[in-house]
Symmetry: C2
Subunit: 409 residues, 2 copies
């Protein structure tokens, strides 16, 4: 099945917005074995949209368009589709009632401008939007099926998952897997795996580096069961070689892995964050159900908070400074004790841009984990730029916690 993705919006063409929708759509289609053959972006422009519909009509079997279904004057997608398909609009009273009630439930009166979203093209089927006001639309033209979805990612994804994907036939499924690693450079990882990887016949390997780790992506050119088996075998061999450096596959996050381990052990967690500034806690609480093991955190940005909230000794700070092995240790043990948790995790470092010295440069960080059996402290020199440093620190802290739970619970 040949598929195309059309993203619509002035902001996308001009480079004001990141087009994450087409990425997500391509991935979801790939899971179904449908490979996206072409991608295009056009502005909120009637003629440009109609031109793309004409170009792809009968040439592709599946077209998914996103964006431009909002209630304001710059949203012209529905009009463009109606013009191309020569379709009138009809006001849908029933759908309007649904919208009115949804606004009421959140305590608001629905603005009159939302009325346009209840005007449905006569020649389209609608796909319900569980989280927003604009429904998805489906038009058929010979062998080409056109879907139009809102540009707001949550709405697009909800309609796609609930109503669009289930209607598509599975194509010849292409197998792939991502092995997630952290704590090693791309070049070192590649050097370790090179002899193995070069022995693979039909499996492509790509390294995707980020400040939080390197993903190893395996893809097979062979489709179906045979491809799946080849990928599984290759992935298993790589996982054996990388050992503890990998924390999971595909979309799994380190905070989910840590959450699973804590749930299994029925143990609890508390965090003491200095340089990561709350990011670690925010990641832990991104996981649904984390309140079962996450007791809380102290973001101890100043020294007073380290002493007052975490029980770090003033002498320690005076003798070694706030960015030190000793301070990290006392923070982790302190937060563990203050919250009465099984595990205490601490971060203290210099994210920059200021605050560095020749002995303690920007990028330096100490990570500590206090557990039931022992406290471990690790020094690391991470990327010396504020936001990547925060991200890498949170990741390194969660990884140290993962390793400690696995080996010293």
């Amino acid at each position: 099945m040949k598929a195309g993705i059309l993203t619509i919006g002035d902001e996308i063409v001009a480079g004001f917005s990141v087009d994450t929708n087409s990425v997500w759509l391509a991935q979801e289609l790939l899971r179904k074995g449908i490979v996206v053959a072409t991608k295009a972006s056009v502005g909120d422009d009637l003629e440009a949209i109609e031109e793309m519909l004409a170009r792809w009509d009968r040439q592709l079997e599946l077209v998914i368009a996103t964006g431009g279904l909002g209630p304001t004057h710059d949203d012209v997608t529905k009009t463009a589709f109606c013009r191309y398909f020569n379709s009138d609009l009809q006001f849908d009273e029933e759908y309007w009632e649904v919208l009115v009630k949804r606004f009421q439930k959140r305590g608001y009166e629905i603005p009159a401008s939302n009325r346009s979203q209840a005007e449905i093209p006569v020649k389209a089927e609608t796909l319900p939007n569980p989280v927003g006001t604009a429904p998805g639309l489906k038009f058929q033209s010979g062998t080409t099926t056109f879907f139009v979805l809102p540009g707001v990612p949550t709405e697009m994804k909800a309609i796609m998952t609930d109503h669009l994907l289930p209607t598509l036939d599975d194509g010849e499924v292409v197998s792939w897997v991502t092995i997630r690693t952290t704590g090693i450079f791309e070049s070192a990882l590649a050097a370790r795996l090179e002899p193995l990887v070069s022995s693979f016949k039909d499996v492509q390997v790509a390294y995707l580096p980020a400040y939080t780790g390197v993903d190893i992506r395996l893809r097979s050119a062979t489709t179906g069961d045979k491809g799946r088996k080849m990928i599984e075998s290759a992935a298993g061999k790589i996982e054996t070689l990388v050992g503890d450096l990998t924390y999971g596959r595909n979309d799994v996050t380190l905070e989910e892995v840590v959450g699973r381990l804590l749930t299994e052990q029925q143990e609890t967690l508390a965090l003491a964050e200095s340089c990561s500034g709350g990011l670690t806690a925010s990641r832990v609480t991104d996981v649904p159900g984390s309140s079962a093991y996450m007791l809380g955190a102290v973001v101890a940005y100043g020294n007073a908070a380290k002493v007052g909230q975490l029980g770090v000794k003033p002498e320690t700070l005076q003798a070694h400074g706030a960015v030190s092995e000793a301070a990290a240790r006392e923070m982790a043990e302190g937060v563990k004790s203050v919250f009465g948790a099984h595990w205490g995790v601490a971060t203290t470092g210099i994210s920059g841009p200021s605050g560095g010295t020749p002995e303690k440069p920007v990028g330096l960080v100490y990570l500590a984990v206090a557990g039931p059996q022992r406290t471990v402290v690790k020094e690391a020199r991470l990327v010396p730029h504020r936001l990547p440093h925060k991200a890498a620190t949170a990741q390194a802290a969660l990884n140290l916690l993962r390793l400690e739970i696995m080996h010293h619970a």
Copy 2:
């Protein structure tokens, strides 16, 4: 000047990675008055890259390519450029020494596979990479200038900002401005502005909604000074109409605005977060220099932490529950007092997916700000999905703080 952007990487074409680079590049070029005419993506594929170079050579004046300069076997961009430009590679001892020292400084030995990054095409000029190992490359072909940059965003941006942009002439600058608002629905905002916006002659207005607010983007079709003046006048009129709903222009974030207000007042901040789980603190500490006013935060995920760390009365939790106006008030006043801050901010709500009841549904949140003059508590029903709810909660809390500092400091 006609420009094109080529993003290179298997993961981009297959939809595994989000192409944020081309967005950022288009924006930076737009600031210089250079409008991107075309965008393309190809895989890590020698022939496909060479084909694109041939297609754009002499047709465009500026081509910026990103990706595929890493040290591993799947990185073929440099080879493709060398083949197209018929250029040999030369090992650059001096550059190699720079890399060796950079690894040493972070306490690592450089892997042998990084040697390939010191092999420089004879026909290219290099652009230093201040934050990574692969330098940028510049090739000239008649009137077409080709730049090749690494795909890692921080590296690409650093080379672009430090070494590429300064060499480009300013074109005819296109004026635009973004007015950032929060606390109002897109449809309500558009209704309020419609009479004004429909009176604009040469200024386009677009509404860009997100869970954290709606951006209003103004663009002028007229270039140069005249366009700038039209945009400025239109923006001023819109800002008057939206009043306190706007917190700033363009890339400014609410945490930066709050940081600026606190710095001006020489006042300090402490946060008590329940449902936002550390995200508000993380955003506040994203701002360089925030340690001047950010004393710290308590992520009080459990009731014990609310009582023990923040001094919330057990009776309050028993009578009203943790998600209540009374609990939010005590959390804000508690954290203000515990940290000795001028301002205390609290969030408590139900992010879901579980934990909702008919009286207190998922999405409900209480935000509180305790300041020098008064404590204010606000109830809100935000989007009932976990991650958007966290994001909207953090934004609403920072916005309430902004309004309180402006009006009740």
